[in-house]
């Protein structure tokens, strides 16, 4: 059974407007921070909004890795959620992961891996 805190997908880079961009939305009024890797190289950290990853021809065959930690900081709910949005390729990839923090103040790690094809 797939882990609700992780997603692994292929992303078709050709046939879109390019360049490839990444945004990460931390939902449910919570606080989060991310690190973004292209291959083994870290290319960004913190809040990610329309981050340029590269042009399709250079990216094909590479892997975009994302590690995001979300703090359950909202006293009204223990719901946490992260939405990964990849654009510029053939489709707009919009993937939301959700998980309920067991305790108030927990930090929930999420991960995403997109392989550019």
């Amino acid at each position: 059974m797939a882990d609700p805190r992780k997603i692994e997908k292929d992303y078709p880079v050709n046939g879109g407007p390019g360049p490839i961009l990444l945004s990460i939305v931390i939902g449910d009024g919570q606080i989060g921070a991310s690190k973004v890797f292209l291959g083994n190289t870290r290319i960004a950290k913190g809040a990610i909004q329309h981050l340029p990853i590269g042009v399709p021809d250079q990216l094909r065959g590479q892997t975009l890795g994302i590690r995001t930690n979300v703090l359950d900081a909202n006293p009204q709910t223990n719901h946490t959620s992260v939405t990964f949005i990849v654009t510029g390729g053939a489709v707009v990839e919009h993937d939301t992961l959700t998980f309920d923090a067991p305790h108030d103040g927990d930090v929930i790690p999420y991960e995403a891996i997109f392989t550019f094809v």
Binding site: T63, G65, P75, N78, V82, D106, V107, P109
Partner: protein, 355 residues
Amino acid sequence: MKCTLAFLAGIAIAVSAAAADDTVDKVKIDDVKTPPSPAFVLLGIAPSAVERPTTPRAVGVSLLSSLQDSGSSALPKNFALEVAPYWLVSHPDLTRKTYTEPGFVRSLRQTFSVSIATAEQKADATTGAVAGTLGGIGVRTAYLAGKRSTIEEQITTAIENAIAPVGDQPPQPNTPPPPIISGDSQTTKLLKGLRDIEHEGRWFIEAAAGTTALFESNDSSKSKHQKSGVWLTPSYRLRRSTFNGAELKTAPKVDFVGVARWLSDHTTAEASHPFDLGARVIWNHGDFALSAEHLRRRRSKTNGQRTAAIGELKVSDDLFFTATFGKDFRTAGRGDLIAILGLHFGVGKKPLLTK
């Protein structure tokens, strides 16, 4: 005008339940503030077990189990439920900024909650009470005005840095993500600081309404209105804290609180509809708090006003020393001067200071 003065001094041990007491000589600002659960306050109960479901399924289970527990009666007995509909489902599009700067309508939606409660009433020949089930329903909402302060944004950034994933290793395919992190001391400290200052420099306006009815002989078709109430509590906390990038430095807190409450009470032989209006300023530094309050009651046989200055010292987590001086509501048979020294244990009325 002839004034009768009385001086009351002594040690009082407050062990009263958190029920609403609307007797004019006992009403204080805290009784008039918007309650977290209006239905419970109007019923005069402090339920020990309140169902607080956080998913739609849990709401269904709570309601179903309450009906099963009601036995032969059509109404559940001694049931208490509080639910915030907005938070029953996840909101992936709700960013921290939108949540903390919600605007008027979104703020009302985010803070809207419903409280429902029932309580068994036994027949009592001395009071004329008939056997039945008391039922109450209340709603509550709030508006947090204005924008986040610079200090709130700074603490949020500090939290983002504190919780950022450790190391520079990318996620590995086909392996589970790292385990959940609980109780990290630095994050906990920053989060506490964030919650302490989130209302500084902003108006916070709470409103609530509720009503209760008596179902005689537990018959849902025989309802009799008991009490209704409407509350409005605007408050403002001065912006006084500072943040040095790692630690929050809190200055003495200064709060201004206004209160307005209208009640309609049909539980007595003659119905009453008092309207209370008041204000309080609170200075709070560590374990010591000073406050001044004024409260007026209108539309009642016992119209009057109360003005008091209150000092409170936290001796331990469960023990508070209080001193109250001022002028109370004038009631027959006693004077209106307040001069009370008290020791309050950690039960009953909520002190100004928190544990």
